[in-house]
């Protein structure tokens, strides 16, 4: 009996440790922007927050008056505001920055006399979408208090929801184009349906740049100045030549071929699906050819993003020169808190890289049938258009907000910031990037983004394409075989497509 007990105990601890390990890993899995930042500095920023509140209120009352007509058609007497999302990020933004929100407990809060209910389903294994799908399909018959009011989406599958009637046009809420003039165009492209109607808004933009290791740059190129390094990575041909130089010096230019994928796939000129037929853009095929060359030359690996092998380059021993990513990657996901990592020593620097791209981001959509239209509208307006609130988000949470004038003022140093524990105001700089102010680069990258070539099939196509091509890169299949595998996998996911 004793032995049985011991064995049960042993195995339980074993399972627990293994699961603990997984838990840590799966946190990294979410491809959206990172969780909340640690710095919450309510005290010193209290005046700023107050002024937010007043400006925000004024703005929204003005709009109400102007566009009250169209908003009147939507119900506005709900007692419960249901928000569907997959992590704590939006909740912490609302808690910290939305003036009327009071937190009650982990999954509820109040705005005035309306109860806010957070329905958080993690992203893993498509669970969030499955849950959202099931609930949205029942939306019409649901009791008023159970109806979804707001749900969040990511770029990869935004169109799946945006292109249906389950998502409400923001214009129907009474939000005008003028309200949104400061937002970056690409954030609107992603949530514009096939008829050109805008159906969601985001408070953040996630333009990506190239983060390279200053140390490696000094060793191989004799300088770590971003402007000079940019010459080595200014377009794909130069980038691939540089890869050879780095390979000779014992470094991989990027950790994995999947690092460069987004940069190519955000710069396509056609959609994944044209008239029900799968279509592979030339730029994607260029990624295949360039990547095959890099892998064959031994200049980079084929690891999946977020795998342990991929993350090795966060440390000097990983021998990786650069990663492609937006601000949140370098700030939160590259082990900057761990002693010995490159980020911890301020060893990264940012440069624009070959092409602009974006990665991550969360969009706020209003569900058709919402009974809290005015609150939904107010949340959207305050969180995604209010200058003061958005500046506050940058300062406290290091987000790159979806507000061009705010970001440009911070980039040029016109807006000074003061963080917790600091005594004087200064220009926005990044510790992890060795004191560089990268915002100008992000701003430049985000301006050039054109995302009109999204389709509702992007998530499945991008995933399957990377999976299938891995076989080609590793020499287990010819290019044709790998492409066949890709077509096959996509048709399994989307039976209505042909190739």
């Amino acid at each position: 009996m004793k032995k049985k007990l011991i064995s049960v105990l042993l195995s339980t601890t074993m399972i627990a440790t293994i699961l603990g390990g997984c838990g840590g890993g799966s946190n990294n899995d979410s491809s959206n922007a990172p969780a909340d930042n640690t710095s919450t500095n309510t005290e010193s920023n209290a005046p700023a927050a107050d002024s937010n509140a007043s400006t925000g209120d004024n703005a929204s009352t003005g709009d109400n008056a102007a566009t009250g007509g169209s908003a009147a058609a939507v119900a506005d007497d709900g007692a419960v505001l249901n928000i569907y999302c997959w992590n704590e990020e939006f909740k912490s933004r609302i808690t910290d920055h939305y003036p009327d929100y009071t937190e009650v407990d982990a999954t509820t809060g109040t705005i005035g006399d309306v109860t806010v209910k957070w329905n958080i389903t993690p992203n893993d294994d498509n669970a969030y979408q499955n849950n959202l799908d099931a609930t949205l399909l029942k939306q019409a018959d649901a009791a008023a208090d159970d109806k979804i009011d707001i749900f969040l989406v990511e770029a990869d599958y935004a169109l799946k929801y945006v292109d249906t009637d389950y998502t409400m046009p923001v214009a129907d809420l009474g939000i005008t184009d003028a309200d949104l003039s400061k937002q970056y165009q690409y954030t609107k492209d992603i949530v514009t349906d096939s008829n050109g109607v805008l159906k969601g808004l985001s408070w953040q933009a996630c333009p990506g740049v190239l983060f390279y290791s200053r140390e490696v740059a000094k060793e191989v190129f004799g300088t770590d100045d971003p402007a000079e390094i940019q010459n080595y990575v200014k377009d794909w041909d130069t980038f691939n030549d540089t890869a050879a130089t780095l390979k000779d010096a014992g470094y991989s230019i990027v950790s994995s071929v999947n690092d460069t994928y987004r940069t190519y796939s955000n710069n396509v000129t056609s959609k994944w699906v044209v008239d029900g037929k799968i279509n592979i853009d030339d730029n994607i095929m260029k990624w295949v050819d360039d990547s095959k060359e890099l892998v064959d030359a031994g200049a980079t690996g084929t690891h999946d993003l977020w795998s342990d092998d991929w993350s090795k380059g966060f440390y000097p021993e990983g021998k990786v020169f650069a990663y492609f990513g937006p601000a949140w990657l370098v700030n939160f996901s590259m082990a900057a808190d761990t002693a010995g990592s490159i980020g911890n020593a301020g060893g990264w620097a940012a440069t624009e890289g070959p092409q602009g791209f974006f990665w991550g981001g969360t969009w706020v959509c209003a569900a058709t049938g919402t009974d809290n239209a005015s609150i939904v509208k107010d949340i959207m307006l305050k969180m995604t258009t209010d200058d003061a609130i958005m500046t506050d988000i940058v300062v406290k949470d290091d987000d790159f907000v979806n507000n061009k004038p705010v970001m440009e003022a911070l980039a040029s140093g016109e807006t000074k910031i003061m963080r917790e524990g600091e005594t004087e105001e200064h220009e926005y700089t990044s510790q992890i990037l060795g004191g560089q102010n990268p915002l100008a680069m992000y701003c430049a990258g985000v301006d050039g983004l054109d995302l009109s070539n999204l389709s509702a099939y992007d998530q499945g196509c991008n995933e399957e394409f990377q999976h299938a091509m891995k076989n080609y890169f590793e020499g287990n299949a010819t290019k044709e075989e790998a492409l066949d595998l890709f077509y096959k996998s996509v048709v399994e996911k989307y039976p209505e497509l042909t190739y």
Binding site: S11, I18, Y166, D308, K312, H467, N476, E492, E496
Partner: protein, 302 residues
């Protein structure tokens, strides 16, 4: 009115059977019938739009066979099962014989029986995550092999057909050999000890005893083990799914039938998934029948 003298207990028999019948009908029979029914329809979700259900007759089956890939996955599944079953049955027979041998009187039997059963207690998913980490390109196994100078470049275990399949078979073997050992041991202990004693008196070697006495008398249990293992093997899913992240890489050489079935559930494609399920049902039935016949367990022909 005439009362029958004999008290009839028949109805109690039926009443005691009822719970099983209800559970079987609700959770096994109805799903099976609806699966077959569904396999004749085109019925899936495109995003948030429901397509079908539209009756297409045998259309789903036609598609399945014209693609032909289903046989590749069936072959993968069988290869993985055989790779796992042969070492497993040898190991289990050996251990079972040792544990049940009264002459050997192994010490610490209970401890070892617990230890060999333990891998089965771990969730398959946790187990595969562990192996995934151990055998990743930069994982501990690779660094160890490189340190002792066995290889100079990391060996990509999961990118080579042989090693990927080998790993899956090894994990399954490790997880199930304890279970098989205990089943076989139960069978062996059920054999009349006087037979062993008689053999000993006649001067039989332990090899002779094993092949001439233990094995033949163990046949019913062996057949049972084989059929359950075969059915389990055909339903192989969790280990390869997690080890290869659902891709069945390299080039789908580790994609099993159930993994293929799972691929159709992304779009809630009940039609195709139903067709695959029905096919899987038929394959399982046929294979089980073959095993049953070949091992001569069919009593009907005397």
């Amino acid at each position: 009115m005439k009362k029958s003298k004999a008290v009839r207990y028949n109805k109690w028999g039926y009443i005691f059977l009822l719970p099983f019948i209800i559970v079987y009908v609700v959770f096994q029979f109805i799903p099976m019938v609806t699966t077959i029914y569904n396999s004749f329809f085109e019925n899936y979700m495109s995003g948030l739009t429901q397509i079908g259900p539209k009756f297409v007759g045998l259309g789903n089956y036609q598609k399945l066979f014209s693609d032909g890939d289903i046989w590749i996955y069936a072959k993968n599944t069988m290869v993985l099962w055989i790779m796992c079953f042969i070492p497993q049955i040898i190991l289990s027979l050996l251990l079972g014989a040792w544990f049940s041998d009264t002459l050997l009187k192994l010490k610490g039997q209970r401890f070892f029986k617990t230890v060999i059963y333990m891998p089965n207690l771990i969730m398959a998913s946790a187990f595969s995550m562990l192996f995934f980490t151990l055998f990743s390109d930069g994982g501990p196994i690779n660094s160890m092999l490189m340190q002792i100078g066995f290889i100079s470049e990391p060996y990509k275990f999961l990118s080579n057909t042989g090693s990927a399949r080998g790993l899956i078979a090894f994990m399954n073997c490790l997880m199930w050999f304890g279970n098989t050992t205990i089943l076989l041991m139960a069978g062996m202990m059920g054999i009349d000890t006087s037979l062993f004693e008689a053999a000993e008196v006649d001067g039989a070697t332990s090899t002779q005893v094993f092949f001439k006495i233990t094995l033949p008398l163990l046949r019913p249990i062996l057949v049972y083990v084989m059929i359950t293992s075969l059915i389990g093997g055909l339903q192989l899913f969790d280990v390869p799914q997690i080890l290869t992240n659902g891709t069945g890489d390299p080039m789908r050489s580790t994609m099993t039938l159930i993994m293929f079935l799972n691929k159709h559930l992304f779009s809630k494609n009940y039609g195709m998934a139903g067709a695959v399920s029905v096919l899987l049902f038929i394959i399982t039935a046929v294979l089980s029948l073959i095993v049953f016949k070949v091992t001569g367990n069919d009593k009907r022909k005397g």
